[in-house]
């Protein structure tokens, strides 16, 4: 169960999390997983597919309660989540999907959110009329609309074409930076993590553990191509066994 944290901090201590497969055997997904996040920090979890990233987010969001450990979340404030799939209500328009979770949102705030994410022309469309990239952006708008103090993003840019991913990544960076939000982002793309986060946690294959923690001190806008390439190669050196795919955003 999530406990209330001081100063908007997030503390994650998962001693053990396992699933029971359909054939009845238990297998471990997480062991001794620890992570702490300061107020207004943006952290990225980077790890190979299937290592348990989504499971970590689900535990923090309170969707998985069957695990050993404790989660500490900001005492006040809301939770915003962008799931790995958009999870919009197909029978509500884009605008209604966003309004539903944030009834208190002013007209102006909604308009500026849609403007920032280039969604204005799609307000009255139904999710079935949107491309995946657009639906992702609506899911992002929905998560931001609740004015969360903690934002969880599960691979928000995956399976978008490169140009779109880069654009959405920059929009996302700007939106997060302009708000007092603590953000935890999951990705398997190292470059994406470097561009968005203040701090990167590299995860091992299953059962996931933090194998390295990389603080990024340079401000986001100052991270040049060379700087990014340097960090990527540094990480590649540190990794043994090549469990990570180097960034290719």
């Amino acid at each position: 169960m999530p406990l209330a944290g001081e100063f908007g901090q997030v503390e994650v201590r998962i001693a053990q999390k396992s699933f029971t497969s359909a054939s009845g055997e238990r297998f471990e997904v997480l062991r001794d997983f620890k992570l702490s996040l300061g107020h207004h920090q943006v952290a990225a979890l980077v790890g190979p597919s299937g290592c348990g990233k989504t499971t970590i987010l689900r535990i923090i969001a309170g969707l998985e309660t069957d695990f050993e450990g404790t989660i500490t979340r900001p005492l006040s404030g809301k939770l915003g989540v962008v799931f790995q799939e958009p999870r919009l209500l197909p029978w509500r328009t884009v605008e209604d999907n966003v309004r539903l979770v944030a009834p208190g949102l002013t007209r102006e705030a909604l308009a500026s959110l849609f403007r920032d994410l280039d969604l204005e022309v799609h307000r009255l469309h139904y999710p079935g009329e949107l491309s995946l990239g657009l639906a992702r952006r609506v899911a992002l708008a929905r998560a931001l609309a609740v004015e969360p103090s903690l934002l969880l993003l599960d691979e928000p840019l995956v399976s978008l074409d490169e140009a779109l991913a880069v654009r959405l990544r920059d929009q996302l960076a700007a939106l997060i930076a302009s708000r007092p939000i603590t953000t935890l982002l999951v990705t398997h793309d190292l470059e994406e993590a470097i561009r968005l986060a203040d701090r990167i946690f590299l995860l091992s294959p299953r059962p996931a553990q933090v194998i390295a923690e990389i603080p990024l001190t340079a401000p986001r806008s100052a991270r040049s191509e060379r700087e990014v390439a340097r960090i990527v190669s540094e990480v590649a050196c540190r990794m043994t066994g090549g469990a990570l795919r180097p960034g290719h955003a």
């Binding site: 989540v81 209500l89 197909p90």
Partner: protein
């Protein structure tokens, strides 16, 4: 267009057959129409139609509301499903006539007993259909509702009901026709008015014309409800589907 031709064909067949048999056995469409008009002029038709329709709507509403609530509960809560399932099987297999007769014996020959008997007949069918829908609810959307802390009311209205829509429509459609057929039996057995009672009277007189007149008038009413109320609601509820498919 095709539907209209088919309907005309039906009337023509009826008329043709009525030419070869005694009018007491099968009166032609013209005679039945005449009987409907006569009953309307006396005002009796409207009264009987109204009474029966009120019973149909009351029983239908009770069965749909209670059936939806129970079906949702059984579809979502395992224990409720286990507890309710044997009851459901008993109810599903209890003949309508038994339920009606018992309702009148235990509840007296009252309006409430009659309407409840009809509702109980329709109930298990609604429960089964809605339970199917509740089992198929999208767990991803449920998690979305949990994470964004949607209120119970919003969750029901915006997340659950739209997913149950097709199941409710199926239950409603079969429900309306089932309910009105059972209402007639209830009226025949234990009410002093309504289409069923009138048909009972006509049966004692072997008046086929009157039987057909009342039956067809009510079928017409149900058809009007179907096209003027049920279909527009369905169209509205599936707007998003039409636009996106």
């Amino acid at each position: 267009m095709v539907r209209l031709i088919s309907l005309i064909l039906l009337l023509a067949t009826w008329w043709l057959i009525s030419q070869f048999v005694e009018p007491q056995t099968l009166p032609g469409p013209d005679r039945v129409l005449g009987a409907i008009a006569a009953q309307m002029r006396s005002g009796d038709m409207f009264f009987q139609l109204g009474v029966t329709l009120a019973r149909v709507l009351a029983a239908f509403t009770i069965a749909m509301a209670a059936g939806t609530a129970i079906g949702l509960l059984m579809g979502r809560v395992k224990l409720a499903d286990r507890l309710g399932d044997p009851w459901l099987i008993v109810l599903l297999n209890l003949p309508a006539l038994v339920i009606i007769v018992l309702a009148f014996i235990w509840g007296g020959l009252t309006e409430i007993a009659g309407v409840l008997a009809v509702a109980i007949n329709k109930l298990p069918n609604t429960v089964v259909t809605v339970r199917e829908g509740a089992r198929a609810l999208d767990s991803g959307l449920n998690e979305m509702a949990t994470v964004f802390a949607l209120s119970r009311r919003k969750y029901m209205w915006h997340v659950v009901l739209p997913q149950l829509g097709p199941f409710l429509a199926a239950a409603g459609r079969s429900g309306l026709s089932l309910v009105w057929k059972i209402v007639l039996i209830v009226e025949l057995l234990g009410r002093p008015n309504g289409i069923g009672f009138q048909i009972g009277v006509a049966f004692q007189l072997f008046d086929v014309t009157l039987i057909l007149a009342y039956a067809l008038a009510f079928v017409a009413v149900i058809l009007v409800i179907e096209t003027a109320v049920v279909q527009p609601i369905e169209r509205r509820a599936s707007r998003w589907r039409i636009r996106t498919s």
